[in-house]
Subunit: 317 residues, 2 copies
């Protein structure tokens, strides 16, 4: 996705934000080694996305690369690190949206696909549909030639213990024993002025009944529109779905003329709080501004802009 020449670029400005989930993430329960590992996972994702953006690549390619990197990183609840569901399987969801043409793709309840975000991308580019679920989505991903992995690839001892503990207590949890919303995501503005967002998740430990959260729902957990912003959410999925969070921020910008930060803060710190919706999101607007609001104790997050911003953070303070 090299550009044909500098002359076709409006500017070389780009922005990228990534997250690895929000929730009860406290310094008191973290070791220096674990914190360093989480930061490494976020930095890897920034690097993967920046490699695309700095060469004039598209926002869609950048968020796909960043989320695939987060999926490959075992500490985040997506892809390789996906939690175990009620029957000991990994049931994953992902979505991607291209703000330049409002194209979107999503998969839900898929197993054994190495990178669910790549399946979402294929749905967007090749299926003629927006959302495919379960065995049908897996069959489509196979037809597209995507990489599959056996259950052993997704086996992580810590996740297995979390599941066994949850089964023993008949509990359904979002990620860890702490309240943590295991999701990963990316939002980007490319040097052509196009926005894109992607989200991926392994869902809830010990989940039953084919529950779908906000991550693969266009408008709820994932949304991008060149007129406004690109958003990827992480939080209590049900409340994010009922609030249509990602599109709400876009509408507050487009219809009320709010700035990115203003819209994000209203939705995350006021509207979601009023209905008990814990979590956060990452957002990039068409000017390259970045907003990373969350109303929980922490959110694994990182951002980079061609203007010189580079940050990685975990806690609230």
């Amino acid at each position: 996705m090299q550009s044909a020449g500098v002359s076709c670029l409006i500017n070389m400005a780009y922005s990228l934000a990534v997250h690895g989930g929000a929730g009860t993430i406290l310094r008191s329960t973290m070791t220096p080694e674990l914190e360093a590992a989480y930061r490494k996972g976020l930095d890897n994702a920034l690097n993967a996305g920046t490699l695309v953006l700095s060469q004039g690549g598209s926002a869609v390619d950048a968020v796909e690369a960043a989320v695939a990197s987060l999926e490959d990183f075992p500490l985040f609840n997506a892809g390789k690190g996906a939690v175990f569901n009620h029957i000991g399987k990994h049931e994953m969801d992902a979505a991607i949206m291209d703000g330049s043409n409002l194209a979107a793709g999503a998969v839900s309840g898929v197993g054994n696909i190495k990178n669910p975000v790549k399946a979402a991308r294929e749905v967007m580019d090749k299926s003629g549909h927006v959302m495919l679920v379960g065995a049908g989505a897996e069959a489509f991903a196979r037809e597209c030639g995507l990489e599959f992995e056996d259950d052993a690839y997704f086996y992580i001892e810590q996740r297995y213990k979390q599941w066994q503990d949850a089964v023993a207590e008949e509990r359904v949890t979002l990620d860890h024993s702490e309240k943590k919303f295991g999701t990963v995501g990316a939002a980007a503005l490319d040097s052509h002025g196009n926005l894109a967002a992607a989200t991926s998740t392994g869902g809830m430990t010990n989940k039953k009944f084919g529950r779908v959260g906000d991550s693969p729902i266009i408008g709820a957990g994932t949304y991008a529109n060149n007129n406004t912003c690109a958003i990827s959410c992480t939080g209590h999925g049900e409340l994010f779905m009922r609030s249509v969070v990602a599109y709400d921020i876009s509408c507050l910008m487009e219809y009320k003329g709010m700035k990115l930060n203003e819209a994000c803060n209203l939705v995350v710190h006021e509207k979601l709080v009023r209905i008990g919706g814990e979590g956060g999101l990452i957002a990039v607007d068409k000017f390259g501004n970045v907003s990373l609001p969350f109303n929980s104790d922490g959110m694994y997050r990182a951002a980079i802009t061609s203007g010189g911003l580079k940050m990685t953070a975990i806690y609230k303070d």
Copy 2:
């Protein structure tokens, strides 16, 4: 759901709109008998909802009753009349939303549940989740004691022939040999000032890959909010999802101060048309106004208000 006394009612005004799908519906391809049958199906649904609303019942109960009636009617592509998917099964989606508290429930890819809208209602009321899919959603519906029917109940010769024709031509169609978006839905305002919406569909004839359309997606095909309106959509699902149609109308009212008709017309006759999104929707606002816009040749639709409006219509003119 009788009210305790007249004093607790703000007013006795109510409104109800229902639809049985939009698309290429032309007088030239309709017989008087078939037209009368469709009108009967719509009237049945209005009656089922009105029975609830006229006694002071809730909008949620009314839209559930109206949609269940449409699901039981064999000519509409939902419930009993659901089309055949690629493997000769009936894979149905439904959603319901309560505008008084933004509670919502949805099921997707479910088979053999007699009334998918009732499963969506149980998801909303009892599951702690918003969306359940596939076998998990069916298991949940069984635990709730919902009625199941065998495949024979869903067998309708005309649908079977449509499927066989589609298989022979390797074609995926939305409902009939004509371009028709087979969906049913209802939107209501009750006498307590609460809004609700519900949608149900049998999806696309010969569909593969577990495709999910807009019907069960909160914000896309179904949305209700007491501050604004209640909406149920029918159309080219993918474009309705990418446009987050139902919530877009709500946002245009809430953030731009548009009236119901103005917001509906902008979305259906301008925004959707620009991206080739054929279809329509039914909408009721908090004042009891009704809007039934569509950009296709026809839409099976009907509405009633306590103020005296009662209409049933099929074609554009």
